[in-house]
Point group: D3
Chain length 333, copies 6
């Protein structure tokens, strides 16, 4: 029984959902993971307008598309981040408000809670997103940074997210952090530290996305094995290390898509992510949810690439085996 293949709509926010849904259904997708930006899934409307979620659902149904998760990366980012002008561009005005950092963070936290509530109304029990981090920028440890400095960041995270997760628990909704540089967790050790900080809150887990691990040289399947029971959702996205002796893995303050960068995102199948070991790890973990393509490649036409990616997923989503070999071999009679 193959997993549903969905498209994360975050990179298609320039298209109205109606347009996008028709395209995506035509390409053969099973569903969508709706972004809470553009007009794809509007939390305020979902909570205010009685007919909104039903209409959204009808639109999807009309194209035979399921929806198993909604995503709140942009607002989530603002819950723990030191706030600067860049955050203004990723927030609705009602959350940015006067831009006072602590106020922004609190309004963002409330919006994430509301997103959980809206998800429940919509019949979806996974919300994916970012958390932000007050200590990400201290990653190099110079000026000298102590573990106490870092611990403070994890405590801040726990203080802000535990109440959110409590509300989520109440709604029966879970939150999948997309482990990612700039977030409170960006690899295996920081993911463990985040879980410890939040006391392994049952509502808190991961939206596994290998593209953020391979450029750090972390083995994605090891992440799945380590957190098997916390894999709440899966992104299919790819990245490629393109070091040549002059490029830097820290990317030299160059834009995505600049060929001088040491790594970049590429269309699934064209990067360093090996999907076979990931599928095996997901099978071991008992993950049966969607494989959700998050398509991002600054050097390729997105419609061409998205269709290629769908084909890739279909040809790799194999079920595990029940047979023990060489044992079957031993069937002497």
């Amino acid at each position: 029984m193959p997993r549903p293949v969905t498209l994360f709509t975050g990179q298609w926010a320039d298209l109205p959902l109606e347009v996008l849904a028709e395209k995506v259904a035509g390409w053969g997708f099973d569903g969508l993971e709706l972004a809470c930006w553009g007009d794809h899934f509007e939390v305020d409307k979902a909570l205010e307008d009685d007919g909104y979620v039903a209409a959204r659902r009808e639109l999807l149904d009309a194209h035979g598309l399921s929806c198993a998760a909604i995503s709140t990366h942009l607002v989530g980012q603002c819950v723990c981040d030191p706030i600067d002008e860049r955050h203004k561009d990723i927030l609705p005005e009602r959350i940015w408000g006067d831009g006072d950092p602590e106020g922004v963070r609190r309004r963002a936290a409330q919006e994430v809670i509301d997103t959980g509530r809206a998800a429940k109304l919509f019949g979806v029990d996974i919300v994916n997103g970012f958390t932000g981090s007050s200590v990400w920028s201290k990653l190099y440890f110079f000026p000298p940074t102590t573990q106490a400095d870092i611990d403070a960041g994890y405590e801040d995270f726990a203080a802000r997210w535990t109440p959110i997760m409590d509300d989520f628990a109440e709604y029966g909704v879970r939150f999948g952090l997309e482990v990612h540089p700039t977030e409170i967790a960006y690899d295996i050790y920081t993911a463990r530290r985040a879980l410890d900080a939040i006391d392994n809150h049952p509502s808190f887990g991961f939206n596994f996305d290998p593209s953020h691990l391979v450029h750090q040289f972390v083995e994605p399947a090891a992440f799945v094995d380590e957190f098997a029971d916390r894999i709440f959702h899966v992104h299919v996205k790819d990245a490629r290390v393109q070091l040549d002796g002059r490029s830097s893995i820290l990317s030299s303050h160059l834009d995505f898509g600049d060929p001088r960068r040491g790594w970049d995102f590429v269309s699934p199948g064209r990067g360093d992510v090996e999907w076979d070991p990931i599928i095996r790890a997901l099978n071991r973990a008992g993950y049966h949810g969607p494989l959700s393509i998050e398509w991002e490649d600054s050097g390729m036409d997105r419609e061409w690439g998205t269709q290629e990616a769908l084909e890739l997923v279909r040809s790799n989503d194999f079920a595990p085996s029940g047979v023990a070999f060489d044992a079957a071999f031993g069937d002497g009679e």
Copy 2:
């Protein structure tokens, strides 16, 4: 003229041949390599029952399936092995008998001879299988092991298999040893030693299977080039080295399918075997026989994988070229 693609039935012994043949024909295979266990090809019935081989042939014909080889790995294993309880599980009762090791080995040797005779009746001139080995377990050379100790093992092999090969020669049937750890030959040097021991008996050659070589880091195409005139049959099977600094290439007494192993079998195309150089080597060797998929992957649904493997073989089984390039280029007028 592409080679026939067959399926080795050894890993499907839980299915009656009738069921299996229908499936396999439906997937587009050209034929089967029948295992002499399960109900696929029963040597005793073939020799005792006048109609058996004709019925087997009819069953295959009904599905448009050919058969170019039968396989006797389990019985063959018992010809040279030190016998222990594990062998009981891979033998019919009539061969195990009272389990006295030398008796088991002799009955197994006779059964291999009978298998050659049955093959001939069935119209097949290749029998694939294992040989067992009295010295395999001495591979590490500690406690201190001398070349005399090893030579004794090869002499034992020659003493037991020469008579079998003589009978095969009489039937016009050849035996293809699947070079494999636990056998008298498991790599290039031991294959040469086995051939030397048996005095290059014309009936004795190899069922080439690259999956047993790649985890030893032996280059499969080099094996084909080395023994070009002894490649009697070919298995399409794959294996993957999955070392991570903690896993061992000796596999830590862990079951196939355990992700902590240093290597494992995987579905063809998903492992370390490179098929292109093998096809070129087979072309150089003039091998025109079947490419027989032996499907074994503890982490994948076997029906899904077998069909993928068939597609892999079809897209790699290219014919050699008669054109000499750059020479053709020189066609100045």
Copy 3:
């Protein structure tokens, strides 16, 4: 808008163009890059016979095939080379004449000019080819070779090719040197030196072919980036390094196709050329011309391989993106 995929006819000179065109059209190609040998594109007839080019064009049109370039590798080679008996085999008698080296070189130079003129008549503005080199054979620098010795070779090249390029400029035709060992340019540094020598003549650029770079361990995409505005045409051809500790990258005076060579040409997709970075580089360079398959593999049936190659190109020729990601992500409202 995908690029046209064409077949370079040089390796098919044993087939009359009529036969070849029918085959190629049947396989789904968009066009042909005609070789000036065999009967594919005959420069002398094109210039002498009023109806020749029209007939050639009709033949192509009848099969729905375009032609964007013609190729004069063999004659071009003789413009700068020290001439020996091997050149006789690649030249028409009228150019070889009495075989006096300087005479051969001059007649070859004139033929290249004529080829440019014929191209223009045929409505094609790219002529691909080789240049030969008087210094290629000095590549190892022993006996001791000075930069003055090498400079003399580049001056000889400039002296012989500048007049040809001037005439090409007049016709509005450009020449694409296929950078290749044995030519005046065979890698990035020699290509730069050749351009410098010929004073960056606007008619002189490159027929980019990565197969000649990968066995030198030159990164093909770096070549495209370096000479972005000089990529006049593109060959899709592949090569594979097959070093094993005994083979030499200098190929041991062994024929193409000999498995003991340290590298060899192989069918596109089966070698060391990575097409994805090349397509990205071509996209950056704004190259919209044909992707022309030059098919050469001494170990594979050419018809089988050519069709596989076409499929490879189709599945890799993606358009660039106009979207800036993570920016689109920032579309907060």
Copy 4:
């Protein structure tokens, strides 16, 4: 004529200079690169107290130690950085003052100017150090970061450092930025961008330290070749990438010395820095200044390691050749 080998005193600030000088001279060093912290080189005293620099010089002379550079990494860091509590720990109280960020930055800038002046008094014409950066923390480009955001950081750097460099020029002193993550330049591309921003100010160059490049996978010798005329000083320091599939190149918020980090500093010769190509590049660049060991290894006794490092440098600091080989070979008579 080998280069002087000096020890950078920054990691020995716990020892009074007198104690350190005696040790270092005993180990066989040629000189010291004095840190402007601890009691090694106190800028305020140098400017206020007439006898200070003479006494410092006498102390060095007494041990036969030269000094070619002083270093102001800590204060320099505060010139462009966003200031937080961590900066308080690396600054004298008189610079920290009330901790108002802009005030701290301005006082730090003035201190760097004063350091240049003190260097001149001390007879040293190289000041090494850090610059800080207002944009380092934006390295990942999420939340979406534009080139305009980054440009602003480089403009800020130019605005703050141009006046400092102007004063340095007046004193005849040059500033060597140690290219390093957390600084305005941390690799080749950002070093170029910094030079462009500051209009290639003649007083601004680099204190080349390969240990900060290898964990970014930047080839150190390429840096030297790129900025040959801007290599003002050289650090001998080493780092090792220790990826294992679970560790991250971004180091997981773990302390230096934690074996789970993806990379760490190690004693020279025990890491990924290859000294031979660097010495060749320095020879090509005509750099004749000190090779200054900056010793940092959280897993090794520093006195043991420093002596090993000195031996490493001595055995690698070879002079270039004037002989052209194979040419000398050609001396036939």
Copy 5:
């Protein structure tokens, strides 16, 4: 405080201890790890003859040599092994007796107990050695082998070694198993399984020897980190993987020293063992015991090599650091 460097005498059993001790002291070693074969340390004499251990100790003292461990690899091997003729060659007659396997195993077990007692008399609290294994030869898992089969082997090990370890505990002596193919533990996972089987008996730990891990591609430092409190003793020995496409990692039934093997033992420093990470791991583990060179290289003069190895160890046995760097850097005042 560097660790003592000792020589394991096992490969020098052809020399009387007196001769060997003089040599070894002359080379500058600190001590010996005495083998219980040759005349080096004779367990029966130690227990029977009151003056034996004192005389042995005097002999060592006379050369200024310490002894921190004795080794009983050969007898230990026979405790769990299936016994064959090869074991006769490694045992004293009194233990071999009539060669009945179970009798041999029991007498060997008693001899190990006696060795512990003799060690105590000699004033040594570490006995190193092998355990043998009843399941090693089942490593490939064909004929089909179940985890129950393997479990039986570990139970057999526990049954035979628990009483030995109980006696050792009484004597205050610990046993260091040299993890090694052919033993109950040969890598990280089997070492864990052995510890589990023997219920983490406090007398049972490891004689860490990286040469047996690198040819399995197990990272030696990971072993030390995993079993930090069970590293009772350390061997300095090296091995090299020498794969070339024809050689097998399983070594093809070829003698040590045969260049066709896929791996072999080589003199320390000439193989794949990296000593720097091991020293760091031993420092982390708090191991302060001897670094005992076990010298074995079939291609090198042993006296030449042993002296080179001693120099290698001396130049790598560094102490850990107490300093936290970049923190020291932060000493702003």
Copy 6:
């Protein structure tokens, strides 16, 4: 018994032998391999002047230096080469004469014969050198080159060198071809072809020099194993591949020493040659002659480097072992 370490004087022809001998003896060398250019060993004088060889020998004796081989690379090169102006620079006038190619080749051949005679007079039985090749420049096989073309080159070599070797045999002197690009043999396969061509003449063998193999990616130890009985002399020289994606292994018509080349010669120990496997192979081959340092590194002071190289050789020239390990281990009683 270590091998003598000698210095090949070819790269020191600018120094009179007297000066050089004093230097080299002072550095601790055992002897010299004299070049037949500069004033080191003058063949004409040796044959004409009765006292010449005695005086040369006295000069060496005075410095305690042996001489086991003389070298005639430059003249040897001209025996088979197509002759051009570059050869004039490497030949004495009396051999160049009027420069007519065939005349040059014949006079060069006679000079090699004379060199053998002079060697005998001097008491040396090895002459090293080059052979030249009429087909080297055809290495790429374009224009299309047939095996017949290449065969002609080997026949030319045999025709020219067989008479020379016959004379050598008479003198009891052997010729060691330094396998090298530009020669009739430049790798394993061409060395075999040369031996076949010259009918395995007993006087013809090799001056093994790994530096010419590693940049071709040929494993030097494999060469020694292949031609064990033809290793007449050994050069210690090193080369380094320095590919970076832009450089070419064919070296781009760039001078030695240019950092843009894909490979270059470097001081022994600083390149890709691994000496340990070579010493083992020489030990297997029973080679007891000199290890002769041919020092060439365009980026290093030659006196500094030569002394480092001597130390490298001394620390690697180990004798083989007579002991069979694990067997010694088995000394149970």
